[in-house]
Symmetry: C2
Subunit: 150 residues, 2 copies
């Protein structure tokens, strides 16, 4: 029984399907990627290195889950890794982490200025930061600058 090699038709179909996945992935998956690179950047900056076990602990998931996520991040060019060694951000990964951090800070500070307590602001900012357009971010920035604490 031969037929191991996929037919052209099957390949074409696979490509079309992959294309349509792309759109879908960018929705929820970008958030996960941002959370990971942000956390990795924090760990590197604070403790000097990012280890999978720490990521797992902070994110409340298992090592295996983190490992799978890191494989995807590496595939997407956001991190680099050598087997059994700690994790590094690529230039693109670092850029995304910084951007996420800045976004996070602005959202959190805006919420605080609006009267939300800082713990709640921190938590909500975590969820909100991934859904803010450049325009809204600019508006929040202006809101923070204009007429501070009187």
């Amino acid at each position: 029984m031969p037929a191991k090699r996929p037919s052209p038709t099957v390949l074409r179909e696979a490509t079309r399907q992959a294309r349509s996945f792309e759109r879908v992935r960018q929705a929820h998956q970008r958030e996960v990627a941002e959370d990971y690179v942000e956390l990795i950047a924090d760990l590197i900056d604070v403790t000097g290195e990012a280890r999978a076990v720490d990521l797992a602990e902070r994110l409340g998931v298992t090592n295996a889950t983190v490992n799978a996520a890191l494989n995807r991040l590496a595939r997407d060019g956001l991190v680099t890794r050598q087997r059994y060694r700690s994790i590094f951000l690529t230039t693109e990964g670092r850029r995304l982490a910084e951007e996420s951090r800045a976004r996070h800070r602005i959202v959190r500070d805006a919420l605080i200025k609006l009267g939300v307590d800082s713990e709640t602001a921190e938590i909500d900012a975590e969820g909100i930061e991934h859904h803010i357009s450049a325009r809204t971010l600019a508006a929040l920035r202006e809101f923070l600058e204009g007429a501070g604490t009187p």
Copy 2:
């Protein structure tokens, strides 16, 4: 070859696994449910009925995807449906839809008051509304009430 019936050990394991899934599911899945019931409520209120084909068109997904989602919503007690007929919200589904709508409006209006143009505000509110705690929502409500357009 017997062994069709799962062993007690396997069942116990399945239960534990199911439990841990619950936590995870509530993260992203609640957002999807909220989007669906909100849209279903809108369609019912505006056009008189909610059809799968309209949901698919508005959400930019295929009929098959909508159908699978509706099965989950029905399983979770948010909608009811008869085969090949249009969709209805349960009391719980309607409640969730109203809550989401209110949340959506508040976020959108707050963004507008912060200087974001209404189209962008509408889009961003869609993403943000699922990540707002009760406290932040209250703060936004106060922000909207206090010192309107001068």
